[in-house]
């Protein structure tokens, strides 16, 4: 690692040296022609400097990569970099003259760099898809896809044993998905009404003062890391629910769907309220005025006019919240449990897609077992589900925005 750092610094130094050299040369050339000659030059000396610097730096950088890849020694690589940089600098500064369009080339280089930056986001997506897809395909060679999505028995740990590898019973993902959706449903049931009402209250009822107090509270809720919510669920909410259930004569485990769902709901409240706030504020004031002028109360205006107008946007916001809840990891890892129960009862421990990915991929394991590959298959499912949700939500929200713009 240190070698890379040294080489990178050398590249930077060579670039700077080449820049200074060429800029000085360009200045000297302009000065030799006479006063005001700079105006006749297409490019200012600084751009000639940059042109030279980029040529040298790029050359040295390529040599550095080649050196690192081929395992050339540090001294030889350094020498080669130096030589390439010096040659580059001489070639570049040799072209310094009135009509040479150094600025155009430099700007072209900058634009290319900016394009590369934008493409990295695309490469990330491609990377995600490829890494999930390849391992998942390997998994589906061992476990048929249909068994995976229709099987009701999930016990990948036992499938580790020789005789069970690939047995369809062990990799039935139905309990994992029902658990995920159960918790998501609870989280949305908590966060949707609360988040929506907060947004409505803050935008339509609250005075300046209330808003000044409540907004930071919501922002803090949004800024709390998920692991903290997980700890809170495990340490406080779980036992509280358990104790509450005991007083009513029920027995509920500390880790349960309801615990994870409730806390996840609290976590998503700020998400729902800020998205709804945007959506509600996008409904033009003239709609509200029209309703008030007919003698409607605020709540009638909100529920019958503003809400009706904002509905597509709110649905989009809720879809994003659903996607968020399905992909949330830390709360469920700490508070939902790991037992793959196929149940709709929120007072039982359930497991989720993310919990299983964590369980299967943390710790040391060989990467060819069906067990680890199963995590990638689950990851692929998670990615597809959230992608579809986000995509639909974005389209709905975009259409909605266009309506009032």
């Amino acid at each position: 690692m240190n070698t890379v750092l040294i080489l990178a610094l050398v590249v930077a130094a060579l670039t700077a040296a080449s820049f200074v050299f060429a800029r000085r040369k360009a200045r000297a050339q302009i000065a030799s022609i006479g006063k005001g000659a700079g105006l006749g030059f297409h490019s200012q000396p600084g751009y000639h400097g940059w042109f030279s610097g980029i040529i040298s730096g790029l050359g040295a950088f390529l040599v550095m990569i080649a050196g690192l890849l081929t395992g050339l020694g540090l001294p030889i690589t350094l020498m080669a970099m130096l030589v390439v940089a010096v040659i580059g600098s001489f070639l570049a500064s040799g072209r310094i003259q009135k009509d040479f369009r150094a600025r155009t080339y430099v700007e072209y280089f900058i634009k290319t760099l900016l394009v590369v930056c934008s493409l990295i986001a695309v490469f990330t997506t491609i990377g995600i898809v490829l890494s999930l897809l390849f391992e998942s395909l390997r998994f589906f060679e061992e476990v048929p896809f249909l068994d995976f999505i229709t099987g009701t028995q999930w016990s990948p740990q036992t499938a580790m044993r020789e005789d069970q590898v690939g047995q369809s019973g062990a990799f039935g993902a139905v309990p994992v998905f029902t658990g995920t959706f159960l918790i998501m449903a609870i989280a949305i049931a908590v966060s949707a009404p609360i988040g929506l009402m907060i947004a409505i209250y803050l935008s339509e009822y609250a005075g300046h003062r209330t808003r000044k107090i409540v907004k930071p509270v919501i922002e803090i809720l949004a800024g709390v890391p998920t692991v903290v919510y997980g700890f809170f669920a495990l340490l406080t909410v779980g036992p509280a629910i358990r104790a509450l259930a005991e007083t009513m004569g029920y027995s509920v485990p500390t880790q349960s769907a309801i615990t994870a769902g409730l806390v996840m709901g609290i976590m998503i409240i700020p998400f729902v309220s800020s998205l709804s706030d945007d959506v509600i504020n996008a409904v033009p004031q003239t709609m509200r005025d029209g309703s008030y002028a007919l003698g409607a109360t605020k709540s009638e205006t909100m529920t019958k006019v503003v809400f009706a107008g904002a509905l597509p946007g709110i649905i989009g916001a809720l879809l994003l919240a659903v996607s968020r809840a399905i992909g949330e990891t830390m709360i469920v890892v700490l508070a939902a449990g790991r037992a793959a129960n196929l149940t709709g009862n929120p007072f039982e421990a359930v497991t989720t897609v993310t919990v299983q990915i964590v369980a299967l991929l943390t710790g040391d394991q060989e990467f060819d077992s069906a067990k680890t590959l199963a995590a990638f298959a689950l990851g692929l499912m998670l990615f597809i589900i959230t992608l579809v949700l986000n995509f639909i939500a974005l389209i709905i929200v975009r259409r909605y925005r266009a309506r009032y713009d």
């Binding site: 990377g127 890494s131 996607s323 990615f383």
Partner: protein
């Protein structure tokens, strides 16, 4: 409205109006209730964390005199540091304790006595001292060692003295010793600096966030170096230079989608590409930083674009009209105007990355590290993952540590976000 003959003033209408206003009040009450629930939830969460964690910043230490007997530590008398490392420091500590309580003879009682202090912390402390300075052998030192977590909890009042002996982790005999030591001032409570400087440990009284905090800093450094320049570059291109075509639309949709991809997926990406395919080291801040960098990238891009779009086009056009090239107009005029907003957005994205846990579990940052990482390729963990690892322990002392770790994390996040808000208010331009 008695004077009017309007249908709106009929008895029926007025009765209905009453009901409508009642409904209005109910609706408003629901709004207040929703706010109340959110505020209460935050209050509940914070009080849980503060209530459990504040005590961890105080720890009980015991001051003791230890004689570094040559016959025990260095029978050969060579003072070879490597040999001295392996010596029996446990014995030294035990001897000191038995001397302090000479009437303890029973084997079981002796073991209980030793358990009053941190049983691995104390020997390690002298081992390090002797290793650094072998000349200490033969001298008598006064050292401060942490008490065991059970004694610490007893003195903090978290272990009740009233329950029967077999139901608590500390015996009546031990309580007597501890009370005696407190009486003489040998055991005292002090600010727990070890919590900030120590690495992870199997013993709660020795565990600290020093290692994971450094790990977080290193990871964040990599994240910032990746996400901020690339994110800003991408945003500038999309805002100013991108042509209007299908491919650019695709890039935009892709960025928006990427922002909503569950973070754990980025961890899977890191595992598959960076570790398994490229062969980078597991558990290292470099991989963690890259993963979080890719995760933060869409956030930075979206925040930067929002600020760039808020800069009036007239500023750029003004520059173009005096003969600046497009690049010059953008970099000399538009980007500097958007600077504060970009800075704020980047800082907030970094704060988010600092709290991120799930993707780091995938790349092996859940590991037991007793060394502070020296570089970004060393095995390390980060603060949120450290919290996650501690959160699994139900014992009182660990709950305290976990909560204290959370307090530190939340404070750091509060500081970073507060700084970003302060910066925005100070520098932000309104158009």
């Amino acid at each position: 409205m008695p004077t009017s003959d309007s249908i709106h003033a009929s008895e029926f209408a007025l009765k209905r109006l009453k009901k409508r206003h009642a409904k209005e009040r109910r609706f408003k009450a629901f709004g207040l209730l929703a706010i109340g629930i959110a505020v209460m939830a935050l209050f509940w969460l914070l009080s849980t964390v503060l209530g459990n964690g504040l005590n961890a910043f105080i720890q009980h230490d015991m001051t003791m005199d230890v004689e570094l007997t040559e016959s025990v530590l260095d029978p050969s008398g060579v003072r070879d540091p490597d040999e001295l490392r392996k010596s029996n420091y446990r014995r030294i500590i035990q001897n000191s304790l038995y001397e302090r309580f000479p009437d303890v003879t029973d084997r079981k009682a002796k073991r209980q006595l030793f358990d009053v202090i941190s049983s691995s912390g104390a020997p390690n402390l002298i081992r390090q001292m002797v290793y650094n300075n072998p000349d200490l052998v033969g001298q008598t030192l006064t050292i401060r060692v942490p008490t065991s977590d059970d004694v610490d909890q007893l003195l903090k009042g978290n272990i009740s003295r009233d329950v029967s002996e077999d139901r608590r982790k500390i015996s009546d005999q031990q309580i007597t010793w501890v009370d005696a030591l407190v009486e003489t001032g040998e055991i005292k409570s002090r600010f727990n600096t070890g919590f900030f400087t120590n690495t992870d440990s199997r013993d709660a009284e020795l565990a600290g966030i020093g290692g994971s905090f450094i790990g977080s800093l290193m990871t964040l450094l990599v994240t910032a170096c990746l996400a901020i320049p690339i994110g800003i570059g991408a945003a500038i291109w999309l805002d100013e230079f991108a042509p209007k075509n299908r491919f650019v639309d695709f890039i935009e949709i892709n960025i928006n989608n990427l922002a909503a991809v569950p973070s754990i997926i980025f961890g899977v990406l890191g595992l598959a590409i960076f570790i398994n395919f490229i062969g980078m080291p597991r558990s290292a801040p470099i991989v963690g930083g890259l993963v979080l960098g890719l995760r933060a990238l869409p956030t930075v891009i979206i925040a930067t674009r929002a600020t760039l779009m808020a800069v009036p086009q007239s500023i750029r056009d003004g520059a173009l009209s005096i003969g600046a090239s497009h690049i010059q107009a953008v970099f000399h005029h538009k980007v500097p105007q958007a600077g504060p907003g970009i800075l704020t957005g980047s800082i907030i994205a970094m704060a988010q990355a600092l709290g991120e846990t799930a993707p780091l579990l995938m790349i092996g940052m859940v590991n037991f590290n007793t060394e502070i990482p020296n570089g970004i390729t060393d095995s390390a963990t980060v603060l949120p993952v450290q919290i996650f690892m501690w959160a699994g322990n139900a014992e009182r002392a660990w709950v305290e540590k976990t909560s204290a770790g959370i307090i530190v994390l939340l404070l750091v996040l509060l500081l970073i976000n507060g700084f970003a808000i302060w910066l925005r208010n100070r520098l932000e331009k309104r158009w």
